[in-house]
């Protein structure tokens, strides 16, 4: 058992965690170290408990020669032994507590940071706000490498039905924080490996929870500056205008399956999911209430896709949140028109 334990402990020390899940930000290395520390001491406990179970069950089994009345040793307890197996776990726990305490301030302690930004959870998008940028960025977070970040984490509470708890998790950063409506929690980390990583929502937030993920792009400072000035430039120019006549219905159908079908059926108005069914969007008399009581035409539908919607029917994110380009909107409109009765 000593040999198996030693092998297991050695395995824990050399196991390449980084190979399976990159350590791409500042607290990650320390957290993996804590994980290794715990695994290191868990291995002998597991090996010895299971080993003794198996060994005793075989070594002290009742043998055919033993009488039916045969009994085992009458020993009730052994104080020295009990003291050891109380003291050793207690000392290990104390050590683990102190080591964990040492790592904690990396998340929550104040530190000099050069980027302070906001992350806001929506159904079902991550919104990011940068200082000096008028519009928000959705789902694609860009961060410069080796620059400490303070991220103020919260959830949308603009509309009652949009206010739910999400959670912001970047596995490669070992960073996670619930996005709670009505609460702003600042967390700290420093991305230190260039690459693209996943942002995953880990708190159930409704129908789109499974698909609520984004990307964080850790890039060099110069790439970041280039991206940032492009964003500023985009904000300065007027919103995109949509050319409705050139849509491709087939592309629109594929896009509908990918982006819209979580909330909308390609079925009559009454077959609601989160939003109404969109099959007879341009003919059904129930639909016009979507656009101020008039019958919908393609331009109205395009306006909703572009600007989003918030009203009696519920809430729909805008084109940035949904990741739609003007061409995408044209394709979707073309597809929706093929659904007419």
């Amino acid at each position: 058992m000593g040999v198996i334990s030693a092998l297991g402990m050695w395995g824990v020390v050399v196991f390449p965690i980084d190979h399976f899940l990159k350590e791409a930000a500042q607290p990650a290395g320390d957290i993996d170290w804590l994980f290794r520390f715990m695994s290191f001491f868990s291995v002998p406990i597991l090996v010895y408990v299971n080993g003794f179970l198996i060994y005793f069950a075989i070594r002290y089994r009742k043998r055919p020669a033993d009488s039916m009345e045969a009994v085992g040793s009458p020993i009730h307890d052994h104080h020295a032994l009990e003291a050891w197996w109380t003291a050793i776990p207690a000392v290990l726990m104390l050590a683990l507590g102190l080591l964990s305490y040492r790592v904690l301030p990396e998340y929550y302690g104040a530190q000099a940071s050069t980027v302070t930004m906001e992350a806001i959870g929506h159904k079902w998008d991550f919104e990011f706000r940068y200082p000096g940028l008028k519009q928000s960025v959705y789902n694609d977070l860009y961060l410069p490498v080796n620059v400490p970040v303070t991220m103020d984490i919260t959830s949308s509470e603009v509309k009652e039905e949009d206010a739910v708890i999400h959670s912001f998790w970047v596995p490669e950063f070992r960073v996670k924080q619930d996005m709670v409506p009505g609460m702003v929690v600042p967390i700290h980390f420093t991305p230190d490996v260039v690459g693209t990583y996943r942002i995953i929502c880990t708190e159930f937030c409704g129908l789109g929870h499974s698909d609520m993920w984004g990307k964080v792009h850790v890039v060099s400072q110069s790439d970041f500056d280039a991206w940032f000035s492009k964003q500023q430039h985009q904000a300065a120019s007027a919103g995109p205008s949509v050319q409705l006549n050139h849509g491709d219905a087939a592309a629109g159908q594929a896009l509908f399956q990918q982006k819209c079908s979580t909330c909308h059926n390609a079925a009559p108005f009454d077959q609601k999911k989160v939003g109404p069914g969109l099959a007879d969007l341009f003919d059904d008399p129930k639909h016009p209430m979507l656009v101020d009581g008039k019958k919908a035409d393609p331009a109205d539908a395009a306006a909703i896709l572009e600007k989003g919607y918030s009203g009696v029917m519920g809430t729909m994110p805008n084109m940035q949140a949904n990741g739609l380009s003007p061409a995408d909107i044209a394709n979707l409109i073309a597809y929706l028109q093929t659904l007419r009765k």
Partner: protein
């Protein structure tokens, strides 16, 4: 010895047994019949909730499956979790095992309040109907924790869920009070606290936890129900409520509830190990007092479920420290059990096999619990499949293995018949291997980035999930072996006699199944129950039951 004199009154002077079918089997006051009612009802819920789990695994077998719609999938895991916790594990360990074994082990003729006991059981079927019936109105989707605000936005089924869990809470509180009074007031003469069987110790602590903690859950549920139905904002942040309040109150109940779900299993293990190792339990007092310590500490660790909820650091630290501290009494128990096997004359019968499985899987689950207690590591692991894996190692590897160990152990006492040992061993190995194959890989995919409560996932986890799903189907099939074994035993099982395992606690000193009113004369207890090799420490037990000797 005035107490003993009263207890010695022949039973004819107390109550005649019931005669009609309804009195006997439906609205029975007899703790043994109520126990069987609990077993059958929770068994049915176990099958239903288990089938939901298999449906979920069918959906998760591939990364983008459409076996279930996303909504149905969300409903399935919520009802699965709620049913397993509240309709299966808690009632089977307290209502079924507590009722079947505890009064017999303390030498009582019934529990203190038989009518309340019956009432407590009859809250269970309506709770089940409300919970499974919620599918008709749109079942809850946010998992068994039902965090607001999302739980405020769900369809009407969530209100039914509130009612169902509230009913269970009332039932659990009543049973807690009933068992506490029974254990405090109705022990046979001579049974001091340190002569009580360890299952009774575990039941006493569990009853205390149910009695104190469950009211908090009821309050949280009542507030959720009122907010949903009457629109009074307790939790909705956009109208001045706080969603984190729910988390605090919910976990203030649900962490003690974790121990409500494991302490009776500890008790079962503590009975089975000395019986089959044929030697005294190692460290009786250490095991009894560590149960009590765990019970008390369980009220001081709830916020370790909330390390990513935005608690201040000074709040996180004491909760981390106290959580780690619980590992110490838990370790004492595990080491004492292992030490009981040392220098025994071990009979490797099916109850002990399940206990060995319990010790192996529960130790693993306990250790991953320490991983989750460390705040920085928990921040990474929280709400991933690592937590799903840890939870199943504790509640399945712990509680369910303990439940089946207890079932195999007390089945002869309950029915008077033996189960088939070969089938029992087949059941164990199928269950043990497929359990580990199902839940061990979940640690891996959780650590490497798979969140829980998702119906579709990144295809990089596809192969592991397919393996998990196949294992889960085998795990489900293993219970068919048990069902067949139970049926076979009921039809033509070998008669067990009063004490087939040669155990020494009081329930084995009477016929199997026990007669109405259990004991002709209340026995007098002279010493603790685990001194194998010594004469039995009871007076006034008919001599034919005193020759305790195992069948095989």
């Amino acid at each position: 010895m005035a107490v003993a004199d009263v207890a010695h009154a022949p039973i004819g002077h107390i109550h005649p047994p019931p005669e009609t079918f309804v009195q006997k089997y439906v609205f029975s006051f007899d703790h043994k019949v109520i126990a069987v009612q609990y077993f059958i009802t929770t068994g049915l819920f176990f099958v239903l909730a288990g089938l939901l789990a298999e449906l979920m695994r069918a959906q998760l077998a591939g990364p983008n499956n459409h076996v279930l719609s996303v909504t149905t999938y969300n409903e399935a895991y919520t009802v699965h979790g709620s049913a397993m916790v509240w309709l299966v594990i808690i009632p089977v360990l307290t209502g079924a095992f507590g009722n079947l074994v505890m009064p017999l082990q303390i030498g009582a003729r019934d529990v203190a309040f038989p009518w309340l006991n019956m009432f407590s059981f009859w809250l269970l079927p309506p709770a089940g109907i409300f919970l499974f019936g919620s599918f008709l109105l749109g079942a809850p989707e946010a998992g068994w924790t039902e965090y607001p605000p999302i739980s405020l936005q769900e369809p009407a089924g969530t209100s039914m869920w509130c009612v169902a869990i509230f009913l269970i809470g009332v039932s659990s509180t009543i049973t807690g009070i009933n068992f506490l009074v029974t254990i405090i007031k109705m022990r046979a003469p001579g049974m001091t606290w340190t002569r009580m069987p360890l299952f009774v110790w575990a039941t006493a602590v569990t009853a205390f936890l149910s009695f104190i903690a469950t009211a908090n859950l009821s309050a949280a549920l009542a507030a959720l129900f009122i907010e949903r139905v009457f629109n009074v904002p307790f939790y909705d942040p956009s109208r001045g409520g706080s969603p984190v309040v729910w988390q605090h109150v919910f976990w203030f109940y649900s962490h003690p509830a974790v121990y409500i779900m494991i302490l009776p299993a500890f008790g079962i293990v503590s009975e089975i190990i000395p019986t089959f190792a044929r030697r005294p339990i190692f460290g009786y007092k250490a095991i009894a007092y560590s149960s009590t310590a765990i019970g008390l500490m369980s009220f001081m660790v709830w916020a370790h479920h909330m390390f990513t909820s935005g608690l201040a650091q000074w709040v996180q630290l004491p909760f981390m420290a106290l959580t780690m501290l619980i590992a110490v009494p838990t370790g004492i128990k595990v080491f004492s059990w292992v030490a009981t096997l040392w220098a025994g004359k071990i009979r490797l019968a099916s109850p002990l096999l399940f206990v060995l499985g319990f010790l192996s899987t529960f130790t693993f689950g306990g250790i991953t619990g320490i991983f989750l207690a460390s705040v920085p590591v928990d921040i990474h692991e929280h709400a991933t499949y690592f937590v799903v894996a840890h939870l199943h190692y504790v509640l399945f590897g712990g509680s369910i293995f303990g439940i089946f160990a207890g079932l195999y152990f007390w089945w002869p006492k309950m029915t008077g018949r033996m189960l088939d040992e070969r089938l029992a061993k087949l059941h164990f190995w199928l269950m043990f291997v497929s359990f580990n194959a199902t839940f061990l890989p979940m640690h891996w995919i959780g650590l490497f980035g798979m969140p829980r409560r998702v119906a579709t996932y990144d295809p990089i986890y596809g192969e592991t999930n397919l393996f998990i799903s196949i294992s889960a189907f085998v795990l489900g099939a293993s219970f068919i072996v048990f069902a067949y074994n139970a049926l076979k035993s009921a039809m033509n099982g070998e008669a067990s006699g009063p004490n087939p395992w040669g155990a020494r606690t009081l329930e084995w000193m009477i016929p199997s199944p026990p007669p109405y009113y259990n004991f002709d004369r209340i026995p007098i207890v002279l010493a603790g129950p685990y001194d194998y090799g010594q004469p039995l420490p009871y007076r006034d037990v008919p001599p034919e039951y005193l020759t305790a000797r195992p069948l095989h």
